[in-house]
């Protein structure tokens, strides 16, 4: 049994290194201008940017996973089939890479459906009343949502084949040439269906109901992947459709993004304030951040789009680390009830402060990177003179900030209760906080270049 466990860990590390090398070669060769393709796979600014995020977050979470599993096994005093866990885990990563790299937008749909299937298996990896409920809701709601997206894709195909009746492929790189000529009515119908469909998977309110359950019941490394990467992959698919539809639809599509973004942020507020479950708190914060990104996409000027893509990266980083840390806390305190987790900074200074800083980063406190992306988005909205939406945006962000600070007071400084064990020196979290701080103080030039390439794609450019 022990050898199997060790061998499974080797298997996991080998695949982790494989993804790291794959992602590094892909991003390096694309950004140095040596490699790009638009055959079956598509590498352009947007897809490589998202593949880079998957590589970064995937590596971080992969590094933290084996020790998490060991502690979980120790806590429950039984062994799991680790090999199966790692198999699903890497399949999940593979489907997400496939989602962002495939060219044909019909196949993108297929890939998104596959991510749902694989991740449902991971959510209910330890089958019990709660995980099964979460996984079943997730499967049913996301499948129905995605079916709407397929309906929209068929209508989009129809709109495209009216322009180009012969030999039409469904490849993004071909469709983008038709973007100005698509029929307005058909495109509007299709965009609404696709927005609802992929919006379900992104977790935009009011289609978000599966999200807090799935993200809170999954094993913590999986929660980190779900919040940090899966939501992004769905957002990526929607951005592609947006790039195709925006030239014709204009304000209609922008308003959908703004309205649903603001609703998502508003819905998250009460649930964050009254939350009693640590992981659900983070899940609702994901809904909020997806709302922010959606809002920024709706504003659609260079500043806001830059903010949106920067926010995607930084939210992924901060949220996946926060979920990993929450996993440590849940295992250490043997509860996820916020009322019973107190005084982290007193009992475990280094770990406690890094968790506090991660939550502050998520709340958007100034020195951290998420503040600068939110600031860019706000600035973009004011330049686009969207005054009322901007007012609501700032109001919601501030309310959520207060809600998180309120919880942080008890989590970090309440009456100290030392229970279980938490990692003494959380290297990963410290490194992550360091990165978040650097980006907040000074945006590195290569990152700006990468984001600008991605923004160009969203704005309907061909490269």
């Amino acid at each position: 049994m022990r050898t199997l466990k060790r061998n499974s860990d080797y298997f996991h590390y080998v695949l982790t290194i494989f993804w790291l090398i794959f992602g590094s070669i892909l991003t390096y060769s694309y950004y140095s201008g040596n490699f790009s393709t638009n055959g079956f796979f598509l590498t352009d600014g947007l897809s490589v940017y998202f593949a880079g995020i998957i590589t970064l977050i995937g590596t971080i979470v992969s590094l933290a996973t084996p020790s998490y599993l060991t502690r979980e096994e120790k806590l429950h005093n039984k062994t799991f089939n680790r090999f199966r866990f790692y198999l699903y885990y890497h399949l999940f990563l593979a489907t997400m890479y496939f989602t962002v790299l495939v060219n044909n937008i019909g196949i993108t749909w297929v890939a998104i459906e596959l991510t749902t299937i694989v991740s449902a298996l991971l959510i209910a990896f330890h089958p019990n009343r709660y995980t099964l409920e979460a996984a079943w809701k997730y499967l049913i709601i996301c499948t129905v949502g995605i079916a709407f997206a397929l309906l929209g894709l068929f209508i989009l195909y129809r709109a495209a084949s009216l322009v180009n009746p012969v030999s039409l492929t469904f490849r993004f790189s071909d469709l983008i040439f038709l973007k100005d000529k698509l029929n307005y009515d058909l495109l509007k119908l299709s965009f609404i269906f696709i927005f609802i469909g992929y919006g379900t998977k992104i977790g935009l309110a009011p289609m978000h109901t599966w999200l807090p359950d799935a993200h809170s019941q999954a094993p913590s490394p999986i929660s980190a992947l779900l919040s940090g990467l899966l939501l992004n992959s769905a957002m990526y698919a929607l951005m592609r459709i947006y790039a195709l539809s925006h030239p014709v639809l204009g304000g209609v599509s922008e308003n959908l993004f703004i309205i649903f973004g603001l609703i998502s942020m508003a819905v998250a507020i009460p649930f964050i304030v009254i939350q009693k479950d640590l992981k659900r708190l983070l899940a609702y914060s994901s809904i909020e951040h997806m709302g922010i990104i959606s809002f920024a996409l709706g504003v659609f000027n260079p500043l806001a789009l830059l903010g949106a893509l920067l926010h995607t990266l930084l939210h992924s980083l901060a949220k996946s680390l926060a979920f990993l840390a929450a996993g440590d806390i849940v295992l250490g305190f043997k509860t996820r009830n916020l009322l019973r987790i107190h005084g982290l900074t007193k009992s475990y200074p280094l770990f406690g402060y890094s968790f506090v800083f991660l939550i502050l980063a998520l709340a958007g406190l100034p020195p951290f990177g998420l503040f600068s992306s939110e600031f860019n988005i706000g600035l973009g909205a004011s330049k686009a003179s969207k005054i009322y939406p901007l007012t609501l945006f700032i109001l919601f962000i501030s309310l959520i900030f207060l809600g998180l600070i309120y919880h942080l007071g008890q989590l970090g400084w309440g009456k100290s209760k030392k229970r279980g064990s938490l990692p003494n020196i959380p290297y990963l979290y410290l490194a992550g906080i360091f990165l978040l701080l650097i980006v907040g103080v000074y945006l590195p030039a290569p990152l700006v270049k990468a984001i600008n390439l991605a923004v160009a794609v969203v704005k309907g450019g061909l490269e």
Binding site: G106, I107, V110, A124, E133, V144, F154, L186
Partner: protein
């Protein structure tokens, strides 16, 4: 011929709305998928539209035989509770169905641009899709929800025939493959739900809130 097939496909939806027996639902979606595959083959052979051939064959194989067969296998293995299987009674369900069909006919008659090919497929496709959705919402047993999903997918397949006839085959293949995998995974979940709660009634799945 086409119209008869469409009429039968639409009619089966009402049977599914009316009944709550899982075995009847499995039979219903099997017949509906077989009719759909047959329609596809009919178009391929009689109207020389070759691109409908392989999707038709795969629909017959996957949705007509493999998926219902697997669902029947699950049904044999699990205990089916006698709890109420539907949120509303059969009469109200069928009324919903009629409203959906009327609405679909009204809505699709307005869409003139879509209507360049196969106008009469559109309302059937749309109402099958929506009735599938209603089935998933109303029926409270896990297997019935899977059946509702297949009905939705059948509606989408009809829509693809109607408005996207030259859709690349690889997409059709991907979609069908997805459905097959999805049903298998859902089957595994139904086994586990049944083990954990001693029933596959969705009423048990209401613990997570807030």
């Amino acid at each position: 011929m086409e119209n008869n097939l469409l009429f039968l496909i639409l009619g089966l939806n009402f049977w599914l709305l009316y009944t709550n027996r899982i075995s009847r639902h499995i039979g219903g979606i099997a017949i509906q998928s077989l009719l759909l595959g047959y329609l596809s083959l009919f178009l391929a052979i009689s109207q020389n539209q070759d691109h409908f051939f392989w999707p038709g064959v795969l629909t017959l194989l996957f949705k007509g035989i493999l998926v219902p067969g697997f669902m029947y296998y699950i049904l044999q293995k699990i205990r089916v509770s006698d709890l109420k299987a539907s949120l509303v009674g059969p009469k109200l369900s069928v009324t919903f169905g009629i409203l959906i069909v009327l609405l679909s006919y009204l809505e699709t008659s307005k869409l003139e641009l879509i209507a360049q090919t196969r106008q009469d497929y559109l309302p059937v496709a749309l109402s099958t899709f929506l009735i599938g959705l209603v089935l998933m919402v109303l029926k409270q047993k896990a297997l019935l929800q899977v059946a509702g999903l297949i009905v939705m997918e059948n509606g989408l397949y009809l829509l693809a025939i109607a408005i996207a006839p030259n859709l690349p085959f690889i997409i059709e293949l991907g979609i069908l493959f997805d459905i097959l995998v999805e049903v298998i995974i859902m089957g595994i979940f139904i086994f586990r739900i049944n083990e954990t709660f001693a029933s596959s009634h969705v009423k048990n799945l209401q613990n997570l809130k807030g």
